[in-house]
């Protein structure tokens, strides 16, 4: 089983994401201009500032040649995880519902947060149980998830919220404490917290590893 981790100009968390993937399986970097996802079973779109995040966060990266391939991969049911900027890219690409707005407090946030697993039935959360609380860091300026009322109702009714900030401790003002969502099919998941930064006791928590283990489990031959 092999992960592919996208790298855009301006990505900065792709090496951590690669290392997190390598703890549980094979992994390689996919350059944004490449269109080759051969041999890749699951895609991770990492954090950072793709193409400088000029205009709106994630808005230009969605047109990268590699993203065209990721969209096909997702349409075929392939598991895709977007972390932070990767989440923003997936929302801009229309693969995930909603949009990310500047934090309510306008400040850059960097802190450990508790994230509750609201849906343990995706390829990225199958190694968790619903209600599990994961300790994972956030670090973002534009992490306030938003959806217009009708879309929000739809997302909630479909059970598409995968992660919520736990205990009402919502760092950025996102609607309904949403920290991460999935597409209707469930194979595409995005979240603002950084599971790839929580894979070693050295940094305080290994809870993030569960997302990568989940993908391995989801793809394991039955």
């Amino acid at each position: 089983m092999r992960f592919g981790v996208l790298r855009f100009p301006g990505s900065c968390d792709e090496v951590d994401a690669l290392m997190a993937c390598e703890r549980v399986a094979d992994a390689r970097i996919v350059w944004h201009a490449d269109t080759d996802l051969d041999g890749i079973d699951a895609v991770v779109i990492p954090g950072g500032f793709s193409y400088g995040d000029y205009l709106r966060v994630g808005s230009i990266a969605r047109f990268a040649p590699a993203m065209e391939k990721v969209m096909e991969f997702a349409a075929d049911g392939g598991p895709v995880l977007g972390i932070c900027n990767g989440f923003q890219v997936l929302c801009e690409a229309g693969l995930l519902p909603g949009a990310l707005l500047p934090n309510e407090g306008l400040r850059f946030l960097s802190r450990q947060v508790d994230v509750e697993v609201a849906d343990a039935d995706t390829p990225w959360t199958g190694a968790c149980r619903g209600g599990d609380v994961l300790s994972i860091p956030v670090k973002h300026t534009t992490g306030r998830w938003f959806a217009p009322t009708e879309l929000l109702d739809e997302v909630e009714a479909n059970g598409q919220v995968v992660f919520r900030y736990a205990n009402g401790r919502n760092p950025n003002g996102s609607l309904n404490d949403v920290a991460g969502v999935r597409n209707e099919r469930g194979n595409v998941v995005g979240l603002m917290p950084h599971p790839e930064h929580a894979v070693d006791e050295l940094t305080g928590s290994t809870d993030g590893l569960r997302l990568f283990e989940s993908a391995v489990r989801a793809l394991a031959p039955v």
Partner: protein, 75 residues
Amino acid sequence: MIARVLIKPKDGILDPQGKAVERALPTLGVGSVSDVRIGRMVELRYEDRAELEGLCEKLLVNPLIEDYEIEEVAE
């Protein structure tokens, strides 16, 4: 032709940047200004209005969170 694409957060969406400006107003002694909303302005040269509108919908604007209008500018 030159156009200005004026982009602003949709009504009802919290605009913390606008709020921050608003909070500064009392210290400046400004009492008659309120409801500050901050957006973006993109000035560009174009030939085909339909193509420009397509660009707005596809890239310049995220219609989930932003409204826009196109203002033509005399050269």
